[in-house]
Symmetry: C2
Subunit: 273 residues, 2 copies
């Protein structure tokens, strides 16, 4: 029986499975939507990955990830080239979008204002390629604790401001982990709906205590995020796409059998999301 | 020779010194402004702490901390009582303000909206006592990574909205560690200046990588925060009070000799702040 409305970001089982194995395990439990990471695609080859997607009629709710724009001039040029390749890969996989983790401060820099400009410039540079390929770009605002080293776009408002600046073919990936705390969240979700900018909806949970800045995300229901409230706000804004589970969990979920992780995702998706 | 414009939050040397020893070590290096924590005051007794402050003509740039309002009904009543005692202690120490770390979600709750209401209600309940005592209340917005367990007020904008709601006798403590990432930071600092709400300016630095959510703050200059830019924005907003160094550093600064920590604070204050 198919599990409607649930997608598995393959980072969630990256320690257990390669992409081929992950798809097999998902299908066995009725999950027909996935979001792979580029390293997972590269590990089995883009052609093979595309064949797996097509043969199994998988929905690819996003390819992770492009971005990482702030750098010196050479680094920025290299990032733009790499992002164009990522767009081509997303197209080959028939993905709903390319997720952008935009990047933090260049090494040695303390200038977050300039880093943010570099992000907008970088996205502007790849946008024509994305439009031509029919791949929407999804800016994922990351939690402020990643502002220095992963993404200097840290609120939905900031991401939507960039979208408004750049026009069509670009939107946002709303990951509850990054935005649940934001006092402006519901207003900005509504704004994103009005301008048709919601491209993805990622779920997991915020654990108390959180023991690691990067690799201690929780399974839905094990933390403090009001997932249903956020889901309803996103639906009210007109987005009814899949909820994509993305959990980085070095000490817990990455150590469990993959089938157990997937069945838990399904159960929690049905009960707390 | 006195070090003008520098205050030491005594948490910075809490593993090395009690309050009496910390004051002695500060004075030896010409530092005449401090901000103690309540547990440090209690450890030597409020009368003795007040005597040390008065005898040495210390400037007390803040008492840490009141707050922690969200709870069940009994817990909220207890928090209000405790905050009133904190106000009395701040008055006895002739402190510039009582710093409020407002609290996160009550145990078992996922309702951050209600927690935020509880914060405003709690502050409203203690404000008459604070006004009568002549102690301004300084809401300290905490970094969003503490939204669940320490403070559900996470931006300067949010803190200033509460101030505007409640009127006189209340303002903000701006700690660069918590707000440096905020795209609205400079606008909100300007707003805080216009309404005369800036009560304290805390400094330290954001390390890359950050290894612990709570106890891995950096010494000024060792991280990525543009301290001078923020200081200038705060001065432009009309605040010229001391910069108060507050560093929680379990693996580094708390393990070094206290005099070395203090001399490093002075040197960095003079060169990078």
């Amino acid at each position: 029986m198919a599990v409607e409305g649930l997608s598995i970001n393959l980072a969630t089982v990256r320690e257990q499975y390669n992409m081929r194995e992950a798809v097999e395990a998902c299908l066995k439990q009725g999950i027909t939507a996935i979001a792979p990471w580029r390293d997972q695609v590269h590990a089995i080859g883009l052609d093979e990955a595309a064949r797996i997607v097509a043969d199994n009629r998988l929905r690819v709710t996003g390819l992770c990830r492009g971005g990482m724009f702030p750098a010196d001039a050479d680094g920025r040029a290299a990032a733009i080239d790499d992002n164009k390749r990522a767009i081509d890969e997303a197209a080959a996989l028939n993905a709903d979008c390319l997720v952008l983790v935009v990047g933090g401060l260049p090494p040695g820099s303390r200038d977050i204002h300039r880093a943010r400009e570099m992000v907008a410039e970088g996205i502007e540079a790849i946008l024509p390629h994305a439009r031509a390929a029919g791949i929407p770009l999804a800016i994922e605002p990351l939690h402020p604790m990643y502002a220095a080293d992963r993404a200097c776009v840290n609120t939905l408002e900031q991401a939507l401001d960039i979208c408004d600046l750049l026009g069509d073919g670009i939107g946002v990936a709303i990951d509850v982990y990054h935005v649940w705390w934001d006092p402006e969240l519901e207003d900005q979700i509504a704004r994103a709906g009005t301008s048709n900018r919601i491209l993805a909806h990622h779920i997991c949970d915020w654990l108390v205590p959180t023991r690691d800045l990067l690799l201690d995300r929780g399974m839905m229901g094990d933390g403090v995020i009001d997932l249903k409230r956020i889901r309803k706000a996103i639906e009210k804004a007109g987005y009814f796409g899949a909820q994509e589970v993305e959990i980085f969990s070095a000490q817990n979920w990455w150590k469990r059998p993959g089938h157990e992780v997937l069945s838990t995702c399904i159960e929690r998706f049905r009960t707390v999301c």
